[in-house]
Symmetry: C2
Subunit: 268 residues, 2 copies
């Protein structure tokens, strides 16, 4: 089963919430700090608590790189226990000249065995190509992000009147010959999403920005429902994984995911 | 001595060539493959052969990440033996939302102890800020890159007639309040460099694209000389580190760097 099929199966079950494993040593429940590998142990419990109804797991590489070689081990161990039928996203936002991108792709796909990754398009087509050649993987390319700085460049207006992020979406469509492209679109930009959703119908859309970053899940789901598309994945990290803090934090985490899934169900 | 002072000292000695340690297991001399850590051993010998006249060392993180935890160790060991007076550049092209960028910055500066790094500006100011707050480090931000894909977005024309990369340079100048910003500008774009050089006079310019990628070192040096600026660093990777292949490859490497340094000297 390739990455696309893996994701489609979960979407077809009505599952659209991607759990972001942005695991921060300073934020995990105190009783786990005694474990040999607290970050892995936290992830293991989060996965146990969410695996029935998560659409995907996104691992933010920065949180693991920060811990050095130890973090790398936690990352590898976590990837090993994610059920094979659930898509894993390596949130790395890579992108470099061809021979370097080929190395990053090898690191993410051959070495870590991620099902998909996030990419930064700034350097253009040949910085994306070595990734896209992994035909069975999925590649979520940044278009409009959820942070305030998206105003600086992504929302610049081009000579032809388009926003830069709209031009990026057009290019992603032209790069999608293996049907393995996705796009990252900040959930806190509902008006822009409404205008762009029809142009992303052949792409899987990964939407960060709900939860700690303030985007409305309800609004997002309604936009895709209206378009008649189910090709969207809403990432929620902090608001799910840190939903509880005590000895039994897992039940709070599980309840929080169910709550979000209910919002999806009620608006689809 | 902070990163800026470190770099300025080398530039004031007339040293402008940054040696790129893009070390590829498949390209290093065969007799090193028997060593316990061939990548480190290769780097060690390259550093020995070039440390007198290299302006800086740039380590491309992709080449190390590709080797997993082992690559991470090679990277750490390499950083430890680079002479303290020579600038190290972590070529990582990172950039993410604030809390994630803070983690990447911690990984590069606190954990790996790089003197500087490369950054991708696509996501805007708050994706750069956590890096820039490391005031004693240097931050080289992508403007116009050396690859063919630079046509896709970097050279798009904005509503006000500027190229996107020119807008990026303007923004970098506005982010330079701690005088710790640099810019990445592809050496194979001499015409664009000529037009932009005066707008980068407060920034350190890192120029990839000479050597394997075809840019002319002579042309680049003349442009900066004409502008009266010595704030430039030309990165050369493959053409230097793979200059030799036999048992005594080090002398070919050393000779190649001297050759490039002579081109600089003759045109400055």
């Amino acid at each position: 089963m390739n990455s696309k099929e893996k994701l489609e199966r979960r979407l077809n079950l009505g599952l659209h919430i991607c759990v972001g494993l942005d695991t921060d040593f300073n934020k995990i429940p105190k009783h786990l700090l005694e474990c040999e590998d607290p970050i892995f142990e936290f992830n293991r419990r989060i996965i146990e608590a969410t695996k029935v109804s998560a659409a995907a797991y996104k691992l933010n590489l920065a949180f693991y790189e920060k811990e050095g070689a130890k973090g790398f081990t936690s990352l590898l161990k976590t990837l090993e226990i994610i059920p094979a039928e659930i898509l894993t996203i390596g949130d790395a936002k890579r992108g470099d000249i061809g021979n370097t991108s080929a190395m990053y792709a090898a690191a993410l796909f051959d070495h870590l065995n991620f099902d998909s990754c996030t990419l930064n398009p700034y350097m253009g087509v040949d910085s994306m190509q070595p990734f896209l050649l992994y035909k069975d993987k999925l590649h979520f390319i940044l278009a409009l992000t959820s942070n305030p700085g998206s105003q600086d460049f992504e929302k610049l207006i081009l000579k032809d009147g388009k926003f830069l992020y709209e031009e990026v979406i057009e290019k992603i469509n032209s790069w999608n010959q293996f049907q393995n492209c996705g796009v990252v679109f900040g959930a806190n930009n509902p008006n822009e999403l409404e205008r762009s959703v029809s142009k992303m119908k052949d792409l899987f859309v990964l939407l960060p920005g709900v939860g700690a970053q303030g985007g409305s899940l309800e609004e997002i789901v309604k936009i895709f429902a209206k378009e008649g598309s189910n090709k969207f994945l809403v990432n929620i990290s902090r608001a799910i994984i840190y939903a509880g803090s005590g000895e039994s934090f897992e039940s709070a985490v599980s309840a929080k995911l169910s709550e979000y899934n209910l919002v999806v169900e009620n608006n689809l």
